[in-house]
Symmetry: C2
Subunit: 264 residues, 2 copies
């Protein structure tokens, strides 16, 4: 729009989005200068666009000058069809697991080469858990991740297996060893981790099969130790997973349109 832009070709909209997406889980509050630098825009431009965004309610400016994401964007985000159907269907079953185990319960799907956490019920026990709703974690170090990885397309597996970051001393970073684990996951129908993502936290997870036999999601729980009641936890998970799978299959009976198209 302007004559003397430093990056001709970039639309105003793209700049505005750069400002919005400058926020992330580690940067929920940004000063003007931080915002400008993270978005890669000149300070004056940032100042003006940010003011527009504040005027529209997309951002909020605190009394101390910091910008935060506005409530209107929270509203808007909730409308995104992020597995809406899956989450609604799964919700009561997750609650059942939570009631039965008192542990932290997760519902997750695969997003490219990472685990995306769709839902989380936090447990009573003081287990350190790093995931929150919306967070992405590596597949090879989480229970739900191993389940999803074990059933992912070959090219995804290849990409994940070719670079296994060490997160704790117990993270499985040897390709061959993880491959053996994945084979077991497919055979046994569940995956476990022991302090591979967070010290002091173990997990166990099972797949949620879709109508066509593919794996559409994973349900897992996080506990301080698996020693004691692995069998009990696994039973609870499997009941829930088959419940979700059954409900999903029924819901899809009238095979209309693409996923998540049930607004009415």
């Amino acid at each position: 729009m302007a004559g003397n832009t430093s990056t001709p070709g970039a639309s105003v909209v793209s700049r505005a989005l750069a400002l919005l997406f400058a926020f992330d889980a580690q940067h929920r509050r940004l000063t003007l200068t931080q915002l400008a630098s993270r978005a890669g825009l000149p300070l004056a431009t940032t100042h003006r666009l940010a003011a527009d965004l504040v005027a529209g309610g997309a951002l909020v400016r605190r009394a101390n000058g910091e910008y935060v994401v506005g409530r209107r964007l929270w509203d808007l985000g909730l409308l995104a069809p992020v597995q809406t159907g899956l989450r609604q269907v799964a919700s009561p079953f997750l609650n059942d697991i939570h009631a039965a185990t008192q542990a932290t319960v997760h519902l997750a799907v695969r997003e490219r080469t990472q685990v995306l956490y769709l839902e989380r019920l936090s447990g009573r026990a003081s287990v350190p858990v790093v995931s929150t709703v919306g967070s992405r974690l590596p597949m090879h170090a989480t229970g739900v991740g191993k389940v999803l990885l074990a059933h992912a397309p070959a090219d995804v597996q290849e990409r994940v297996l070719s670079s296994l970051d060490r997160i704790t001393p117990y993270t499985v970073t040897q390709r061959a060893r993880l491959e053996r684990q994945l084979t077991r996951v497919r055979k046994d129908g569940f995956a476990t981790t022991e302090e591979e993502m967070t010290l002091g936290a173990c997990s166990i997870a099972v797949p949620v099969p879709g109508p066509d036999g593919s794996v559409v999601a994973a349900i897992g729980i996080v506990v301080p130790s698996l020693k004691r009641d692995r069998a009990r936890l696994l039973a609870a998970l499997q009941v829930a997973a088959s419940g979700v799978a059954r409900t999903l299959a029924n819901e899809l009976a009238p095979p209309g349109a693409d996923a998540a198209s049930r607004s009415r």
Copy 2:
């Protein structure tokens, strides 16, 4: 930016936001034409801006041409400091109530003259419930709403009381009667509704007091009937509410900055 705009003075950013906020709970999917009409923009302009938004991942265009809110906005929305602290603190207590009662559990705050639902655990029983996370409902017809209204500033009460919409045949629309109910709510420490929002659904709710004695939120549950176990439900709610209140007070012990500033 352009010479021949029909509404000079409107920034590109404001137009882009108009497009985004054209989506709401009743309109999660919009065609180009719908989008243009709801945003109040010419079709060609809408087409171009929407393409920019899609390029940035803020919107997604389905195969059938419909636009929906994109996953990146979902991510972003989760970063909004919408009572982050309150929700985190309350979550385990809400789960307790849910486990104990198997009913639909709500956490809500007041937003201007409406109830804003922050959290919802759906129950097993087939009770019709209209609320979802992020939805706003009138205060006078919901349990949590009555609690929040009873403890709202006088001007808010006045505005709400001066126009009581009828939603079901049982909605309380007489000002004097609702005022008497509010007095009781303050005295008894809980509120109830009986099919005032939805036929076949009753609710009971209690306030969550903040450190300074004001009411910061309400916790409520929805059941088919209150006849049977009102006392039991009330007890569960009160335990949870005081648990949340106590945790909140402890959390605020180091009184630093404004709410929701715990990113690390």
